[in-house]
């Protein structure tokens, strides 16, 4: 606000120093002995951490003895209704009104501002100092690079616009009402944001426990095969596929190469959430083809090092590409096509599932269409049998199942960081609905999440608008646009002049020192 900005009629502008009886800061010598508990004879010792816009917060206040208090209080004596301003530290610029009815001591991090109440009211000063207009003026003059500090002189020389006293009251009353409502609305919106997060979690939980696909089960009664039976069928199919593949290999070769069908272990079922009767628990072994490459950790050590990185070529896909269960594009490191060819066993393509194995363990996503690249070392690739399970569903389970989360944290503990490895992955229990149902669940979650994303955006937008509204209300207040001016109010400048004149007259009158009559010829007191 420029000094030249026009003031509304009836308003004037002077420095805080002129407008106040007293502007002083607390003691610069913190008492050596401070108590944390109240005892008789002690006084409160208020510092910056106790002051807020709403007043003084009484928890975590220290106490000092009467002597120490008196020494401080004689110089700086906050009274009820005075304005307290934080002048040092992170919260510098925050002003509140002293609501305590007892005497207490202040530290120098807090300044005491006592306006002359005939022309300036404390609540008006408080709002001004907290508003962008006032705070900007205060903070603009801050010195000190390490610790933020407003010096007393800066406070004193801050100009403040002053409406007629009656108008000040109207302004602060309207601000009290408007801002308390606005703050309540903002608090409600913040609560809604929190609840949206929980809602997201609740949706995912419902998805992986079969509670989003009731209708589908009702309309597809043929899918209601009991879980154990379905699992047995899946295992049978899996074995058959392996046998079909290895039929051509002569038996003797089998034995020699140690190629044998390994039946996957079934999961331990204690303490897992209940699933619908047609959903068995399964593990990643059961869900993928029997192959050494079903689970594959990214290349490490000598295979892929810094010297192989390029600025273009085939991208390296890493943890940074996984965010909230979705693939996020953006590649920083690449390798040459030749290098990629040599490491093609570690390639990633559409439909592959990747899971992070260090740092934040268990972050999962599915590689989307048209994306290929090289796996980084901190990922594990999972290739599932898409006739058994939809990769998107697997990713969903990793995101949404609290019990999977628990399993992971229990099982992964490396020496310094959490590490996920193949045996751990294999031992995780995941729900396995019929394939058709998986598709429905995935689609439903996508639908709901899209709506949630939109809602969250909307609420964040509203929060930003609310913050701007707050600013604009305060700015309007100090431009005189919040409440109408009343022409019958005595203009502030007149009041100021009167007070100045009275003060000058009082100063010129010498105090009567003795009852002796004036000596003849001596000048009369003026």
């Amino acid at each position: 606000m420029s000094a030249a900005a026009t003031l509304p009629s009836g308003w004037t502008r002077i420095t805080l120093d002129e407008a106040c009886e007293k502007i002083q800061d607390g003691t610069h010598f913190s008492p050596k002995t401070q108590y944390t508990e109240r005892q008789p004879g002690l006084f409160r010792y208020v510092t910056a951490k106790n002051v807020r816009e709403g007043g003084i917060i009484l928890d975590e206040i220290n106490w000092i003895d009467a002597a120490a208090h008196k020494a401080i209080y004689t110089r700086c004596d906050p009274r009820p209704g005075d304005v307290l301003l934080i002048k040092d530290g992170v919260k510098a610029g925050v002003a509140g009104i002293n609501q305590l009815n007892e005497p207490f001591s202040l530290l120098s991090s807090v300044a005491l501002i006592r306006p002359r109440r005939q022309i300036l009211l404390p609540p008006f000063v408080k709002y001004f100092l907290n508003a962008p207009t006032g705070r900007g003026l205060l903070l603009g003059k801050m010195t000190g690079t390490a610790i933020r500090r407003i010096v007393l002189e800066a406070v004193k020389s801050t100009p403040i616009p002053i409406p007629p006293v009656a108008e000040q009251r109207r302004i602060t009353e309207k601000l009290d009402a408007l801002l308390s409502d606005l703050d309540a609305a903002i608090a409600t919106l913040n609560r809604a944001v929190e609840k949206l997060k929980r809602y997201r979690q609740a949706v995912l939980k419902a998805a992986v426990e079969g509670n989003l696909s009731h209708e589908w089960r009702e309309t597809h009664p043929e899918s209601l095969v009991p879980a154990a039976k379905r699992l047995a069928r899946v295992l049978l199919e899996r074995r058959k596929k392996w046998e079909d593949e290895h039929r051509s290999v002569p038996k003797g070769a089998d034995a020699r190469r140690g190629l044998r069908y390994v039946e996957p272990q079934c999961c331990e079922l204690e303490e897992l959430p209940d699933l619908p009767p047609s959903w068995p628990y399964a593990n990643l072994d059961i869900m993928s083809q029997p192959s050494r490459d079903a689970l594959k950790t990214g290349p490490f050590g000598m295979a892929l090092g810094k010297e192989d990185y390029r600025d273009e070529g085939v991208p390296i896909i890493g943890i940074e590409n996984i965010s909230s269960g979705r693939f996020t594009p953006g590649f920083k490191k690449f390798v040459t096509s030749a290098k990629y060819a040599s490491l093609v066993a570690y390639s990633l393509g559409p439909g592959d599932i990747v899971v992070s194995r260090s740092g934040t363990v268990g972050e999962v996503c599915v590689i989307p269409e048209k994306v290929t690249g090289l796996m980084s070392t901190n990922l594990i690739r999972i290739r599932v049998d898409t006739e058994v399970v939809d990769p998107a569903f697997v990713a969903l389970v990793f995101r949404g199942s609290k019990s999977l989360d628990n399993q992971l944290s229990e099982l992964c503990s490396g020496s310094t960081r959490d590490f996920l490895n193949h045996p751990i992955l294999r031992s995780l229990a995941l729900p396995l609905p019929p394939l058709g149902e998986q598709g429905v669940v995935v689609a439903r979650v996508e639908e709901l999440e899209a709506a949630l994303d939109a809602m969250e955006q909307g609420v964040q937008h509203d929060l930003r608008r609310a913050a701007r509204l707050r600013q604009s209300i305060l700015e309007k207040a100090f431009r005189g646009e919040l409440v109408p001016q009343d022409p019958s109010d005595e203009p502030a400048s007149f009041l100021l002049e009167r007070i100045r004149a009275e003060r000058a007259a009082a100063a010129k009158t010498k105090p009567v020192r003795s009852r002796k009559p004036r000596a003849k010829g001596a000048p009369a007191a003026q």
Binding site: G54, S180, A192
Partner: protein, 486 residues
């Protein structure tokens, strides 16, 4: 015929009329007129005193058809509702005040007349009649389009409020925003039950001299008057008057006040300037007895209730959250109330129990005291029926059993002998006045939908809560916008 199927029959007919453009509210109104006429006729037939002159009685209606019927009905409504200049409205005049025929097709009117004619209503038990009418009122409230829901306070809540205050017989009970008379009715039923009424004189006193109420919407007063009449309350003098309670101090003082003032925006008046520009001006009530002048309707009702209580009188008033936290005038009213009265109980109500969407409301209980230097409130007991409570109007409505714990904790027998519990905490006066703006928006339980926990509420519950939060935020923003424009 059993009452509920009678309600259903009458209500089914509403559907037919709705298709011809008669809203549920209009329908209940017309039923009110016809029912009153029929019942009065029945009284006459058994040679009991009746009120309607022969020219406009039921017989004069049922003997007519077609256009003749429609025209006569229109005149009848006009005549019966006419009040003489300067005189107080009688029961009949209150019921027929500003009455109009809303059924444009004479054939439908005839059908309705026949429907009412077929029953002997007086033969029905007083309670049954009353229940039928209450049933109609409730169905009316459910009809969102009609907007009548804002006049309907859930009965379990009313019963709990009355049980808590536990009014003694022989005293006066008033509701300055009585709507359809729910509070008065419940208080009447509870007092009637109690075996304290020795004599017929006591019973008369209960029926005729105890209850009074006011509302400023003529149509609602009509329904309330009928409701009282069907329950035998008030006798010849209609206990409910059409008046704007906030306009002035009525002068009368009451022992008990129960009320649920209408929610919604600040009172405002549309003003058309000379240039034809339309704007809204806030309607303020300048009253000597008020502590502060404000456009906030609920704060004004709070001040009004304080005025009309006798010293030692007790009040239970439903107020929205913003009465508890709003600064400015709100702070002044709260401070004065805590000083002048013993504000002893605050019930935080759950969402999803009122017909108005997203409403966050509370019940404030206080006792008016004589003038004094020191504040009368020593302790405010707060009952949290809101956190982690999930109600809906259709699938999980509020029931009497949901209010039992509150009434027990309140301890109507002796409200100075209370115990703290999980949902019931006491806050002393010093704590309250230390709070910024004497804010009474007190809650301490952890909201499960905000916690990271294994036991998340079901998604639908969370979704509903989020919606309610957003609605109440929007309502607050609208209020702020309105006030900025003034």
């Amino acid at each position: 015929m059993i009452p509920s199927s009678l309600v259903q029959r009458v209500w089914n007919y509403a559907g037919v009329l709705r298709d011809s453009g008669v809203s549920y509210t209009d329908y209940v109104e017309q039923i009110t007129f016809l029912l009153f006429l029929k019942m009065d006729q029945e009284l006459g037939e058994i040679r009991r005193p009746h009120r309607i002159p022969d020219q406009w009685n039921w017989q004069s209606l049922r003997s007519r058809e077609g256009d003749d019927l429609a025209v006569h009905y229109g005149h009848l409504l006009e005549e019966l509702g006419r009040v003489e200049e300067g005189k107080e409205a009688t029961l009949v005049q209150t019921i027929f005040r500003k009455a109009q025929n809303k059924i444009s097709q004479p054939a439908l009117l005839k059908k309705l007349v026949t429907l009412i004619d077929e029953e002997n209503w007086s033969g029905l038990d007083m309670d049954v009649k009353g229940d039928i009418y209450e049933g109609l009122l409730e169905k009316n409230a459910e009809d969102v389009r009609g907007g009548a829901g804002q006049y309907f306070t859930p009965r379990p809540l009313i019963r709990a409020m009355v049980r808590a205050i536990d009014p003694k017989p022989g005293r006066t009970i008033h509701d300055p925003a009585c709507g359809t008379g729910g509070f008065l009715l419940v208080a009447y039923n509870i007092l009637k039950e109690q075996a304290r009424l020795a004599s017929a004189a006591d019973r008369r006193k209960l029926q005729w001299q105890t209850f009074s109420g006011a509302d400023n919407v003529a149509n609602v007063v009509r329904l309330g008057a009928m409701n009282m009449y069907l329950h035998g309350i008030g006798g010849d003098r209609c206990p409910i008057a059409e008046a704007d309670s906030l306009a002035r101090d009525p002068g009368s003082r009451y022992d008990y006040v129960f009320t649920n003032p209408p929610f919604g925006k600040r009172s405002s008046v549309m003003v058309v300037s000379e240039e034809g520009k339309v704007s809204r001006e806030a309607q303020t009530y300048e009253r000597q007895d008020f502590w502060v002048t404000t456009t906030n309707k609920q704060l004004n009702f709070l001040q009004h209730v304080h005025t009309i209580l006798k010293i030692g009188g007790e009040a239970a008033i439903v107020v929205p959250d913003n009465v508890l936290f709003e600064g400015g005038a709100g702070e002044t009213v709260r401070k004065r109330l805590l000083n002048n009265c013993d504000v002893h109980t605050l019930l935080r109500l759950p969402t999803g129990i009122f017909y108005a969407q997203g409403v966050k409301a509370n019940v404030l209980f206080f006792e008016k005291k004589p003038a004094s230097e020191t504040a009368w409130t020593k302790k405010l007991w707060v009952y949290d029926l809101r956190t982690n409570k999930d109600f809906t109007l259709k699938t999980n409505p509020l029931q009497d059993s949901d209010m039992e714990d509150f009434v027990r904790c309140y301890n109507p027998g002796n409200r100075f002998d209370r115990q703290e519990s999980e949902r019931f905490h006491a806050f002393d006066y010093e704590t309250l006045t230390q709070r910024d703006k004497t804010n009474l928006d007190l809650l301490w339980l952890k909201d499960a939908s905000l916690e990271e926990s294994e036991n998340l509420p079901a998604p639908e519950v969370l979704a509903r809560e989020i919606l309610e939060d957003l609605q109440s935020a929007v309502a607050l923003f609208e209020e702020i916008a309105q006030r900025l424009e003034q």
